[in-house]
């Protein structure tokens, strides 16, 4: 989604969110006003399939231990393997509800995609998948949280912006990809100065595996500091895995995982 569209959606939503707190407090994942706006914006009057948790489900903590980095997992069942071409993740009650839009490479048997997200308050977290035959599937989970979007940056530790870490499991079917980046939400306060920090976030991540598209991610401020995605496939993920990413200030980052080492630290091709 372009930033101009995102801004329009945000503007429309902000009015809803202002008076929408009463119904937002109730755990009714599909009845929220924010969602109705998002749904009509992205999907018009198209129907969603019957809820079938075996096809796809959203896993998230009912009450998050860490609102600034809440784990959300999308699980795809056997019937969905290679049949999902796009999936979009929403957090209804976040100031920017569209977390990410993922285009999944053709015939990639992805069984799970994990995110770490900021959750600002109690909300439905929902995924909408578009299948290769043009159908829509929607699943959701309810998460209680407070203040994930305004939590101050952790910021500690080693590494510099644009460093990339690849972490596979031993069987090669799971790969966690992390990009060192503040991913400022625009709702945080600088702990050194007390001033608000402007948004600055990873906006695009493209992964290939063995020369084929694996997943292409458009992301925003609801993704946690140091954006991290974990891809689990039904088959070992083919090396080399390449990452190309860019952020909202048009800096570019790239890295390659050759399958041998645990880590591949990128030369940050930043263009600040």
């Amino acid at each position: 989604m372009s930033r101009s569209i995102r801004r329009r959606v945000l503007a429309a939503l902000s009015a809803t969110l202002l008076f929408g707190s009463a119904f937002a407090a109730e755990p009714v994942p599909s009845a929220g006003g924010a969602w109705q706006l998002l749904r009509s914006h992205f999907y018009g009057t198209r129907d969603f399939g019957e809820v079938d948790e075996a096809f796809m489900h959203v896993e998230a903590p009912g009450s998050t231990p860490d609102p600034a980095a809440t784990p959300v997992a999308l699980h795809f069942g056997d019937a969905a393997l290679g049949k999902v071409k796009q999936v979009r993740l929403f957090i209804d009650n976040n100031p920017s509800p569209v977390v990410a839009t993922l285009d999944i490479g053709a015939n990639q048997p992805i069984s799970e995609i994990d995110f770490r997200v900021r959750v600002d308050r109690a909300t439905a977290v929902r995924a909408v998948a578009e299948t290769t035959d043009g159908k829509l599937e929607m699943r959701s989970a309810w998460v209680r949280a407070e203040g994930g979007c305004s939590a101050p940056p952790a910021g500690s530790g080693e590494g510099k912006t644009g460093d990339v870490r690849f972490r596979p499991t031993e069987d090669g079917k799971s790969l966690q990809v992390s990009i060192r980046h503040p991913n400022y939400s625009g709702f945080q306060i600088d702990p050194k100065t007390g001033d608000p920090i402007p948004p600055h976030y990873v906006s695009h991540v493209k992964l290939t595996a063995g020369g084929k598209a694996l997943v292409d991610i458009e992301s925003g401020i609801s993704i946690s500091e140091n954006p991290t995605f974990r891809i689990v496939s039904d088959a070992p993920i083919a090396a080399p895995v390449t990452l190309e990413a860019s952020d909202s200030k048009d800096a570019h980052f790239s890295a390659t995982w050759n399958g041998a080492a645990q880590r591949a630290v990128a030369a940050a091709g930043g263009t600040h």
Binding site: P61, S63, T64, P65, D66, P67, A68, A69, P71, A73, D114, R116, R144, A145, E146, G147, S150, A151, P152, A154, S156, G157, E158, G159, D163, R165, R167, P168, T169, E170, S174, L175, Q176, S178, R180, I189, D190, P191, K192, T193, G194, E225, N226, T228, R230, Q262
Partner: protein
């Protein structure tokens, strides 16, 4: 994430309906742990429980010239109870109110001391930390203010400490020490020099599960430094005052080491953060009060700290 003593904001949100209880005069006692050094020990309840505004150890030190208050509790009520508890022991003025870090259970009582016109003292990192917390405190602890909750009742320091600073109370001195990121990024310890009392505040948890809001590695480094002070008496932020510094530090050191070791192994094995928060640290569960209110949050922060090593 800086505003809690215990793990998660969800508890704070849940607390709203329950937070009407407070420290009251009958239950508010201070104990003289060394000559002129008085400690009120907070209770061990979660932040979503009645009495959550009186969970921290707070107190005061009496000099020949004046009094220094160290932390003021989690509500204006608690701050007033502390203020009223000073009067029977001394009529000397309160010249300093020292805050050991930004967490709500240590600072929200500051407003009760405003009329005494003390200097408010904290780490050089505390002013910004307080500014970043004002809205959160107002929204999540409205029942703990004086009347209607407002940001101007949250008082940050006007006197700050970048490394160390000595305060003279007349006939005795306090040595204040600001710490690199450890429990939080605004930690300050107080040594009552003549009595060898180390007021470590939340750099030391005894009994209650430590709540990480800074850096696990930084906290371990701080524990090593605290051990070198050879203080005879240590006042933790939570839990009983101890006359054995080594014994007070050992469980907290062990807990942090268990988390760091467990998280490093999880990261190396490619396990995601939710796997770590569910499993790491569970061997410590029986060793701590309120373990489940903080452990998963602690593990999540350790994971995020260590994954870029």
């Amino acid at each position: 994430m800086r505003q809690r003593v215990c793990a998660s904001r969800r508890h704070c949100a849940l607390a709203l309906a329950l937070c009407a209880t407070a420290a009251n005069a009958a239950s508010f006692d201070v104990r003289e742990v060394a000559p002129g050094v008085f400690v009120h020990e907070g209770t061990t309840v979660a932040l979503d429980a009645p009495g959550h505004d009186d969970i921290a150890n707070i107190g005061f030190v009496v000099g020949e010239r004046c009094v220094a208050v160290i932390d003021t509790g989690g509500s204006v009520r608690t701050g007033r109870a502390l203020r009223d508890a000073i009067a029977p022991h001394t009529k000397r003025p309160i010249c300093y109110v020292i805050n050991t870090h930004v967490h709500v259970d240590h600072v929200l009582g500051n407003a009760a001391f405003r009329n005494a016109k003390p200097k408010f003292v904290g780490s050089a990192t505390l002013p910004a930390a307080i500014d970043g917390s004002r809205r959160y405190f107002v929204e999540h602890y409205p029942g703990d203010f004086d009347g209607a909750a407002s940001a101007d009742q949250i008082i940050g320091p006007d006197t700050t400490v970048a490394t160390t600073r000595t305060l003279d109370l007349g006939g005795r001195t306090l040595t204040l020490r600001a710490w690199p990121k450890a429990h939080t990024d605004s930690d300050l310890s107080v040594m009552v020099d003549d009595a060898s009392v180390l007021w470590a505040s939340d750099l030391v948890f005894v009994g209650r599960v430590p709540a990480l809001d800074g850096s696990a590695k930084g906290w371990l480094a701080a524990i090593d430094e605290l051990a070198k002070t050879n203080a005879k008496i240590v006042v933790p932020g939570h839990g009983p005052v101890s006359h054995d510094l080594g014994a007070a530090l050992a469980p907290e050191r062990r807990y942090l080491e268990v988390l760091i070791d467990g998280v490093r192994k999880a990261i190396a094995a490619g396990k995601p953060i939710e796997d770590a928060t569910a499993n790491v640290g569970q061997s410590e569960k029986s060793q701590w009060q309120l373990f489940d209110t903080a452990n998963a949050h602690n593990v999540s922060l350790v994971y995020r700290e260590l994954e870029w090593e």
